[in-house]
Amino acid sequence: MLDIVSLGTAMRWESDAPPVTAASVDRTRELDRFLLDVEKRAFRIARIAVRHDDDALDIVQDSMLQLARRYGQRSSEEWRPLFFRILQNRIRDCLRRRKVRSKLLGWLPSRADDADDADPYEAVADGAPLPVQRLATDQAMQKLEHALFELPARQQEAFMLRNFEGLDVAETAQAMGCSEGSVKTHYSRAVHTLRERLGDSW
């Protein structure tokens, strides 16, 4: 027999759940716009960190799903630092797994070695030679990626989130899970190291 009091309590509690209305459709569109805005930068940031296209794609895909699953109902203003917090966590998970795998299976070629190989899709000729300027840009980007990869993890995170994604200090602190002072320190050290390795006019 149904308990009417419990039923009423359940109704009151569950009434907080969002109904499928125009508001829900708007929220979906908002998330679509947000993800469309960040997806390429998120992929490039992940690619620089893990140096492997497929791993980077998996990281971005998982981060998008986690954002929708856990924070889809939050204010869209919160999404950016939350998304990049998830992204950084996934990057760390990937690197940790790779490290464990390379220790356990040291006799097999590691993924890190594969990551240093050229992207097979880049080897596919499109029939037209790359412009000289494009080649120079690509080489400069490769030098930058290598220098970023060599940075300590926290400096790398701080630099890419602040410089590439444009997060302010507070948002970066939220994404990195540290204090604003730490963000500034990590960022400053990253800039100093990059300037030393790349020079001012690379």
Partner: protein
């Protein structure tokens, strides 16, 4: 967008500007496979969000429908059993015999049934 190095209030250094410019340019050079994969990932996330929003409705109606379904199941499955669970004379076992059957010592009697069956036939046989 950051325009100054907020750490010391100074303007951005050339390495910062150059890195940002290269990074932005690299975004336009993503291959078709990567762009397609990102597109699919985005749509998967949107599907996830829509599913969560629909679950918000079903979380209310779900318990009610679950209770109704459970009640119907009980009525359909166990309802006829209540009316048919009358032991037939052939299957009936007097309650006073349960303690005999349940007695562990009598299990040995059950194991000797073959013996007693033979005994019964041998006694029936005429002697001599």
């Amino acid at each position: 967008m950051v325009s100054t190095n907020e750490h010391d209030g100074a303007s951005r250094q050339p390495v910062e500007e150059r890195a940002k410019a290269l990074f932005d340019e690299s975004l336009g050079n993503l291959d078709g496979r990567t762009r397609s994969a990102l597109n699919q990932a985005r749509h998967a996330a949107l599907t996830e969000l829509e599913g969560r929003q629909r679950q918000g409705v079903w979380r209310f109606w779900g318990p009610l429908s679950g209770v109704a379904a459970a009640a119907l199941f009980v009525a359909v499955v166990f309802g006829p059993m209540w009316t048919t669970m009358q032991p037939t004379p052939d299957n009936a076992m007097p309650l006073e015999d349960f303690d005999i059957i349940a007695d562990a010592e009598n299990l040995e009697l059950l194991e000797d049934l073959d013996f007693y069956a033979w005994l019964g036939t041998s006694e029936a046989l005429p002697s001599g």
